[in-house]
Subunit: 480 residues, 2 copies
């Protein structure tokens, strides 16, 4: 286990968990049980529900007070009205923290419900119990077997996340997971009644298992503290922030969602500028940046070599890279000359973009490798964006009957590209466009899986790759 003496580390290492309001059907309580079992939690898991004797193979207890022995951590899925009683029982069981999936507190805009939230906070403070939430999905920590949603990647990894929205956290985990990202700790914290964005950011900043911090934040509880914490975190690690409520309409929605006041975007952007945190505008952009920092942690300069197939495609790639503030330098004469030795003259270009069809010939794999080698060795190229034809709908050339299948071809391409990165010493990022057919989907999943094993960054579009690489370059200029 990764040592961490941060005062919140205990949250991620409970010996026992009670899911209070564990549902008998397909409700959320059932999902928590399933997710924690799936993640391989090695402590004791107690479903609590007066209507069941057994749930998912586990003994079910009628109330928290009935659970034998101590309970470290409670996941509350019961309605608001039942919460006060459960809190008292929790104190009796030695509970140190309660995560409230329970919603319907202050975020409803109802004064009485806001008052109930305050009362729960006051009472748990008296009892020395910390609150995650309410109105959240809580914690995921593959290392210790915590999870809030079935289907999250089970292997630990270096990406941390603190998210005010549980669904967005799950969405980011799965979207990034399909591109090889793995997570240290994922925290969904909802209304932030007790533990706030700053608490968790501070934790992730100190956490040795976390190398990259991602976040989805709607409102800030304590401005000065947030500024100081973000500054500390961003100096230590890349911090990527998706700000919910960046418009007036979005701000109205954050009030309904987590009772958060979203604040002015200009203020938030000034905070990012001053601290070095990086704001993004979508889940996809967040995953793009995390992917770039994970797999291309060092971008030495702005020179991008484009290697791909198709003239119009190459033009658009060059435009997207330049629009992102990177460069597409003309390759040195010597490199062009060497490429021209084996690249047919018609329908191609060796200047950069390198628009080549050598991959289609019988000697394709060797010539593509040679192309990547020559481009990687050019002194004005810092990163190669390789438009391998993965995910382009029906492939233009189907494989020979005796040759490898489309899926097999995709895997081989990922392996060959991974080798090229290691052999030629320059980062290569690859593209996998959203597939249009089931067959290409299969190939694209195979490519992504092998690419992750090869530590390759993959993006859905050149524009996304270029914008993310530019952010990596900018961060280096600021902090190195």
């Amino acid at each position: 286990m990764t040592a961490n003496d941060h005062p919140l580390d205990f949250l991620f290492r409970p010996r026992s968990i009670a899911v209070v309001g564990a549902s008998t059907g397909q409700g959320p309580g059932s999902g928590f049980l399933m997710a924690i079992k799936e993640m391989g939690f090695s402590g004791t898991l107690y479903p609590v529900n007066p209507k069941a004797f057994e749930l998912q193979g586990l003994t079910c207890y009628p109330s928290l007070a009935d659970v034998p022995g101590t309970v470290d951590y409670v996941i509350s899925c019961i309605p608001v009205a039942l919460v006060p009683q459960m809190v008292e029982e929790a104190a009796g069981k030695g509970v140190r923290a309660i995560q409230f999936f329970t919603a319907g507190f202050g975020e409803t805009g109802d004064a009485e419900r806001a008052e109930q939230e305050s009362q729960v906070l006051a009472r748990t403070r008296e009892l020395g119990i910390r609150i995650v939430g309410p109105n959240c999905l809580g914690l995921c920590c593959p290392e210790t077997g915590l999870s809030f949603m079935p289907g999250l990647p089970p292997e630990p990894g270096p990406v941390g996340m603190v998210s005010q929205s549980g669904a967005n956290a799950g969405d980011i985990c799965r979207t990034g997971g399909a591109r090889g990202l793995r997570y240290s700790k994922v925290i969904s914290y909802g209304n932030a009644t007790d533990l706030t964005e700053s608490d968790f950011l501070d934790y992730l900043a100190d956490d040795p298992a976390t190398e990259i911090i991602t976040s989805y934040i709607e409102g800030i509880k304590d401005g000065p503290r947030f500024f100081a914490t973000l500054k500390k975190a961003a100096a230590a690690k890349p911090v990527i922030v998706l700000k919910g409520g960046r418009t007036e309409a979005g701000g109205r929605a954050t009030v309904s969602h987590t009772g958060s006041l979203a604040g002015e975007l200009q203020v938030f952007d000034a905070v990012c500028r001053q601290t070095g945190a990086m704001r993004v505008e979508s889940i996809d952009e967040l995953v793009d940046l995390a992917t770039a920092f994970r797999y291309v942690p060092v971008v030495a300069g702005p020179g991008i070599g484009i290697v791909g197939v198709g003239g119009g495609n190459s033009v658009l790639a060059a435009d997207d890279i330049a629009a992102a503030g990177l460069e597409v330098p003309v390759l040195p004469d010597d490199t062009q000359r060497q490429l021209a030795e084996f690249t047919p003259v018609a329908g191609t270009s060796v200047r950069n973009p390198v628009d080549t069809n050598v991959g289609f010939g019988p000697d394709g794999p060797r010539l593509m490798r040679e192309t990547l080698r020559l481009v990687a060795e050019a002194p004005n190229i810092d990163v190669i964006i390789y438009q391998a034809p993965i995910g382009w709908g029906p492939s233009r050339r189907t494989s020979d009957e005796d040759g490898p299948s489309v899926v097999e071809q995709a895997k081989l391409m990922a392996v060959a590209t991974g080798e090229a990165v290691r052999d030629f010493g320059k980062p290569i990022v690859t593209l996998v466009r959203p597939p249009l057919t089931a067959e290409v989907m299969e190939a694209s999943i195979a490519f992504k899986e092998e690419a992750a094993a090869q530590n390759l960054a993959i993006f859905a579009a050149v524009s996304s790759a270029a914008r993310a690489l530019r952010r990596v370059l900018d961060r280096r200029a600021r902090f190195d």
Copy 2:
């Protein structure tokens, strides 16, 4: 057949086609034959190749001169050096137009090859033969059975395209095809030696089968003529332009690709502003706009109702819509009150965004329909963006064992949404995120197919939908 007395209409109605240089293996000539047969061409198709007697079940002729009878249209896949002889033979066969897939002319930057291109042009002009290309894929017209690439949608439809790049044209056709778009005429015109972007734009402007014009353009041959043609076209129909070479790096790539001078983006943007053509920055954005104009031709105002699941998700949706210049008005009190009658208070919102979980219950379909009805009937809502949970990785609630499969559920949701559009009289657009798993891919393909049958617009993200709807609204403000 759609009547069209434009002087270029003959290009799309050849009685016979010769593919000169039809390849015996998997080369491009073989692809043209396959594509034209697949598209159901009812005229005569002649492969020409001195090395074969028969290709794909068709008699093959050693030279164009050997083909029996007249030939209307030639697709040239032979090297540059063999072109002059073939042109002479074409004249003897009564050929009216030649499409040159043949590349390696002026676009190589080689003076001798540029001179060869000029000579071919001069000689075909003398002979009264029109040229499409060179360095292009040519024509696709489902109505008459022309195609340049296997796998293009076979049904005719109202979207026209003129593209300087063949691969981009194919890419747009297939990407849009998966969202239900169908095409009238698709033209890839490469170096534009004879027939230019203005010729084809003028044709599509007059073509009664074309209701929406899309284009990928790298360089402009004749500025004043282009301006006049674009003005005529944009006044008649929505014209969407993807400009290749919008940056200096992209401009260098257009020279290598089609020998085109890309020009200044500011000039191009001024032309678009003055004519009402709409410039986009990617293939995806082009398809988004074509989808919006195809399925939501009238957007009455900027008021968007968001219906979906998940608070954080709803916040981001509201942000994306406001950032695109549309509005997310608070629903009238009366609408909110009626929604609240059947929407649980915890974890939801009925203000707009409508963040609702009613779809998950046993009475889900009816309550979702009721939700859509109430939002559609709100006087301040012009379009609904419905975030049906399609394509979100593993679905949060898997279907009951006895219930419909995930694929079946997806189809039912598309049918129900289509009915809601017809019954409640307001446009509803839906979202399908790029799927992460093979199972969700299957569901998402099923949803898209049914959505197309229901005339529903689908987008990959709220931001894309909002930007496209804004463009529809803007065009109406300008031209109506």
